[in-house]
Symmetry: C2
Subunit: 303 residues, 2 copies
């Protein structure tokens, strides 16, 4: 039997440390990273009302659970769960049902917003009619709906389930694309905009590897509807993901190193621009363009 | 027949532009990039004495030729070629002979420094006796010898043949490794040290893709001894090289984008440290450590 440092049976191997972990020590480790990320970046303050974006996947389920535990232990902030239902039969309906049960179990109010209600059509309906690169559209639509609804629910923050893998990928994608604006906006708490119309995005899981979150979810026996969006396509994120995983395999600790290096660069590269974000003349939501990206893509689809 | 924009027969396709080039237009393009890099970064100034590190490969051969042409056209600076002969039978001996002929043809004085004379042993002799990761050692030895000899020859600059591919790889390697010091020292002309004991490294080819340099060398019919160092091993550079090539294939222009993005970050991240570099107590060369890396590795080998 391979043993954890504490003497119990090991269930997990952290390659970058070369150490084995039992269930209990692994869970403690995950929770420690969560609290450290929250603490060091001051993600949560007394009086916050936090909307948690929940899809029903492992990341958002673990995020909701950890935030709820923190609330129980320390108090001082409110929690609300928000789901965006794109309308993907056999995939999103199942995962939203699963997360609904978890919200109920832990007593977190759960709000579901559907594409059908918000946009006038489900993603299934749209994809039957148009051949589009849906990821581009969903990215914009989801962020727009989450921000708007979080604000309408009176939330000043929006917690998202981005893990270490997601963050390392985002750093490299924006670097490789040369997208300075998006590059500057990464981090656990990218407070670049001092604008009450935005719920500030926080990423309490951004220092926890995907594998450890998955292991945590399995140990906790969370009911998670696995699955893969039928409309997702091969894009740069997929390529970068493959590369980062290969590097992590050959040089354990690479993902954390990428994110740590980003954090060292961040204070040097991000000066508050002082730029005031205008208002979309169609929908009235904040936008740096005359017509926001959401309205632009919606118009494109309708024509 | 596929034609260049000028009507002549095309021999090269620049994927990121989607354009075909004939021999003449491709060569003009390469030379334009060379002059632009030299001009924008003020790599060469009146009165400079430039040592060119030449191995006999495509990059250093093209570099030597372009610098010589610039000298003929504009004048105002001196050129000297330096080769480091590690002593790798069947590889370096051939390439140094080839570059020697080119130096003679263009009237550039050529100085060869051997491991045997400088260190006391050739790389062949060393590798027979010790199982070491030779790339780590050669990197340090070569840089040390090039800098020392350039200075002894009275050169204030050291031109190296790094191309766009090399530079994009170096940017990502140091990013992924989280090596801030080396990350800050990249660029066409990384003048971070104001220290006369260092010949300032300049990289006139760092915006020209490897493929275009190879095409240029072929069109010019330079005699180049191809080959691969028998001691080189799979390391992170190899992994990153594969990844960057894959990205370039799927998203043409990626290499240039990585380098351009680095150039945008560079002024934000590099402040002159004002740190004074000390002297190695063994060899008297500049070093930030008590004993320099060169002496440390040499000692390690001898024991």
């Amino acid at each position: 039997m391979i043993e954890c440092g504490c003497g119990k049976k090991a269930v997990y191997f952290r390659r970058n440390e070369g150490r084995y972990y039992c269930k209990k020590c692994l869970m403690d480790g995950v929770e420690k990273k969560f609290y450290r990320t929250v603490g060091r970046n001051k993600l949560i303050e007394r009086g916050d009302k936090i909307a948690v974006g929940v899809s029903g996947g492992k990341d958002s389920t673990v995020l909701l659970y950890l935030l709820k535990m923190m609330q129980k232990k320390k108090g001082g902030f409110e929690l609300v769960a928000i789901s965006v239902d794109e309308g993907i039969m056999g995939y999103r309906d199942k995962s939203i049902k699963a997360i609904g049960k978890i919200c109920k179990k832990y007593g977190v109010p759960h709000h579901i917003y559907t594409y059908k209600n918000e946009l006038g059509f489900s993603l299934d309906e749209l994809m039957c009619k148009k051949k589009i690169k849906s990821c581009t559209y969903c990215g914009v639509f989801r962020r727009y709906i989450l921000n708007k609804k979080a604000r309408e629910l009176g939330c000043n923050k929006l917690a998202v389930g981005h893990n270490l893998d997601d963050e390392a990928q985002s750093v490299l994608i924006n670097f490789v694309r040369g997208d300075m604006l998006r590059f500057q906006r990464l981090g656990a708490f990218p407070k670049i905009l001092d604008d009450k119309r935005f719920a500030s995005r926080i990423k309490p899981l951004r220092n926890i590897p995907k594998r450890e979150i998955a292991a945590y979810a399995i140990i906790k026996r969370f009911k998670i509807e696995e699955g893969h969006c039928p409309y997702s396509f091969d894009n740069m994120r997929r390529d970068i993901q493959t590369m980062v995983n290969k590097l992590e395999q050959n040089y354990p600790g690479t993902k954390q190193q990428i994110v740590n290096f980003y954090d060292r660069l961040h204070p040097m590269i991000s000066k508050k621009s002082g730029k005031v974000i205008g208002t979309c003349e169609k929908c009235g939501e904040p936008s740096s363009l005359r017509v926001c990206k959401y309205c632009e893509l919606l118009e494109k689809i309708k024509n």
